[in-house]
């Protein structure tokens, strides 16, 4: 029930107080009087009714009015001492009030508030459609089998009586024990050569690239990216104002010779040599050496995104490109999103020794330091072998799921989607017959509650052949066949989108 005041000497008819609203009456009155002043209904120097009179007019207690007046007085809207009469402040800038009143009344130079800048519009447009977390969303790991009891216990243990360095967290590169644990892990597992001081804790590949572009590149510099490639890097590169040069990928990885032709003077190449995203190719040794050779000639950097190298099902994993770098040009990037869970947003970057100081300074200047919340628990999770154990368990699980996907696809999609086994990774690329519109097919799959992103969506230009990406790692065993059956319906659909 709203009460409105009797008409009084001041035009307070617009003040409607609602005793049933969540907000206290004195706050409601404060806001109402403030608006009346800001919109010119109460002019500077105008006298307000006494608190007693206003309370009577509004049918509220005098204390309600006094509390509202006190706030208005504290904020400078009114002057005078309560009891001796209150006036609308004479110090308020009339021009600003008039302009505001005119805008509110619709008689002024009404100007819609500005929208995003040209950069903002361009960046907003780099996002593709979001992928829902269900079969066969690429990049989604198994979540149900993560040892959360242990993770929660580690968090509790580190936070119930934390040392003050966790609370201040001043190191822009991250928590020293975590950096040491990561350096040891990367040396043993990936033949990455680094001291703990070279390791930076970041939120993921995007923040790693963001930091790298800020430290190493100037606006207008050219950067090679793989075509097709990981779309998550494009927004960061666009934000950095650099020129993106898409370079094709063949069976040996990024085609360095093509890059030399179309963008010899690039300052950086972003590659995923262990397991190219999305094609799944491993960059050959010859190509790796060629890439490093180009980088030496061009005086350029190489950003190595080793996003899912932990998942290799046959043969030995190839050592990281970083370990082949003789002169400090390779930045190595990895993530915990795949081996733990994406919501954690925690990754790492290994920076050449001569650049560590510059990375520290730029990070301090632009992002202070990473949150300490996860870091001590994660250091222990790595050191005590829990992470390795989880990776071993999920590796066996994903190998089986890839087989289940291949079998189900052979049963239900044979002749329409050609899937080949892969020795690594968390997704497969399914090839479609020439001429099939993979984007339309992916949309139809969504109608059947299956994510199967079109390969075309990962290419900068025209895709050479249509295909679908099927992430299997996070799909429960029993769900794989059912999801493939739903996908088969998308092939059968005659729906025209």
């Amino acid at each position: 029930m709203a009460r409105t005041p009797r008409a009084g000497p001041l035009h307070l008819a617009s003040i409607a107080l609602d005793p049933e609203a969540g907000e206290p009456l004195h706050r409601q009155l404060y806001f109402a009087l403030r608006e009346a002043i800001l919109e010119g209904r109460l002019r500077p120097a105008a006298r307000l009714p006494s608190s007693r009179a206003l309370a009577a007019d509004l049918g509220v207690s005098r204390n309600t009015v006094l509390a509202a007046f006190e706030q208005l007085l504290a904020e400078g809207y009114i002057e005078g001492r309560v009891g001796a009469g209150s006036y609308v402040s004479q110090l308020l800038p009339e021009d600003a009030l008039n302009a505001r009143a005119a805008v509110v009344a619709g008689t002024g130079v009404s100007r819609p508030p500005p929208g995003p800048s040209r950069r903002g519009v361009r960046l907003a447009a780099t996002v593709g459609s979001t992928i829902r977390p269900r079969a066969f969303a690429p990049g989604l790991p198994e979540l149900a089998q993560f040892p959360f009891e242990e993770w929660a216990r580690l968090l509790q243990r580190h936070w119930r009586a934390p040392p003050s360095r966790f609370l201040i967290g001043g190191d822009p590169a991250g928590h020293a024990p975590l950096r040491a644990a990561l350096a040891a892990h990367l040396g043993a597992a990936r033949a990455v050569r680094c001291a703990p001081e070279q390791v930076f804790v970041v939120s993921g590949a995007q923040q790693a690239l963001d930091l790298a572009t800020r430290v190493l590149l100037d606006p207008g510099d050219a950067v090679w990216v793989e075509d097709p490639g990981y779309p998550g890097l494009l927004g960061v590169l666009a934000a950095a104002g650099v020129t993106i040069v898409p370079v094709g990928v063949d069976g040996e990885g990024l085609m360095v010779a093509e890059g030399r032709t179309i963008g010899r003077r690039a300052r950086m190449a972003c590659v995923s040599p262990s397991h190219q995203f999305p094609l799944g190719v491993t960059m050959s040794l010859a190509r790796r050496l060629e890439l490093l050779d180009w980088a030496r000639e061009a005086d350029a950097f190489v950003l190595e995104d080793d996003y899912d190298s932990e998942y290799r099902y046959a043969g030995r994993p190839l050592a990281a490109l970083q370990g082949l770098d003789a002169d400090g040009r390779v930045l190595y990037v990895g993530t915990m999103s795949k081996v733990m869970f994406p919501g954690l947003r925690l990754g790492y970057m290994v920076v050449p020794p001569h650049l560590v100081d510059a990375f520290l300074a730029v990070r301090r200047a632009t992002d202070t330091h990473p949150s300490t919340l996860a870091q001590p628990a994660l250091a222990e999770f790595i050191e005590d072998g829990s992470l390795s154990a989880h990776i071993r368990r999920t590796r066996a699980l994903y190998a089986r799921r890839q087989e289940l996907l291949l079998e189900s696809a052979a049963r239900h999609l044979d002749g329409r989607l050609h899937l080949a086994p892969s020795a690594a990774g968390m997704h497969l690329v399914g090839r479609l017959a020439e001429g099939v519109d993979d984007r339309a097919l992916a949309r139809r799959a969504r109608h059947h509650e299956v994510e199967a992103p079109a390969m075309s969506g990962y290419y900068h230009g025209h895709a050479p052949s249509p295909g679908l990406l099927l992430g299997y790692a996070g799909v429960p065993d029993r769900e794989i066949e059912r999801a493939v059956e739903r996908l088969a319906k998308a092939f059968a659909d005659r729906i025209v989108d």
Copy 2:
């Protein structure tokens, strides 16, 4: 003890295996052969000794050699089947190997790896000296009295059996219940007008400004900053490629008239109206209206940094500038660093409704989403009143510490550092006599283990008068007087720096 091989038909004399090293012998051999190939000591097509012969030469087991060969084979360094003879791969690009060998030997075009770009050098230079966490470091809250037992329990409870949305964490604006809790808190405490959808969880004021510059500004746009002001914003603005326009601050806050004279066409103003950093001024109502009036005329945005508004010791807090914004130009930024602990790196930004979609898209394109690790626990910490209780406790504590600082300073520094009480905040500004070199004094204070940053360090140009910043909030009561005594010694010192 390192063993070296007998001289054999191949020049393997450089291979030194150390059975006492942490690394397995087969890994050591793999690395040694890899280097020999990469540096041209083993040429493409060269035949390797048989595994049996090499094992004998090196005094290791044949399995050690076989494991090393297997890895080299998997990675493409050697060819052939084990047993039938192994050869250095003929597919290795000779040019790249020769260039590398020349670099390693020091006979090639030796070129030091490139350093930071011009942008990187400029950004790295925006960092001032780091402030150590001890008396009287500004911005440091009381850490010992935070309810960590409860915080740790909340973390454990939310993570021991988390729902899958915590694990995926796909919302680029953050966890919905946290955004709702923040919107309710900001509406009640700061008269911020917002729906939960307008709230973005960020890592702090820097990430908020980073996102805002990316969405709203183009390179070359001008941005007003307060002079003196918070140096943490400068690196982000420099990274965005915008032009920084320092605008003076008087007793009513940012001098809008000066801004109109020197940078009328700016596209954004960054202000701290509740408690200007570092001067501690509250922006007057008249000045607030003037600022919004300018923004309307210039079609500009205002970023309101409300970094410590929770700490007000006298009078009512002024409502946020955001609540006065009639047409969607104000972005409101707050942080948990002061009311919880800095290592958390968690803050929030309230975005005008018409810009929410653009902020969502740009965040998704450049940073995916914030970590979910803290968010569910924090939402509950706010909802159950724990945060408010902690703020009330620390408010009383900080009020007392400010008094202790004033008393100690009167006793030990009288006539040399003039401190006036402040109704708000976590630090005081101490004024020095004209002509005192505050930077030199701050350096001398450091020799006595006291942080007291020079006011000059917060000005873009010449500081009108020298002073020191003294943060008192995080200094234990009993330590305040002792630290002031140490500071007094810095005044007495004759050390010439």
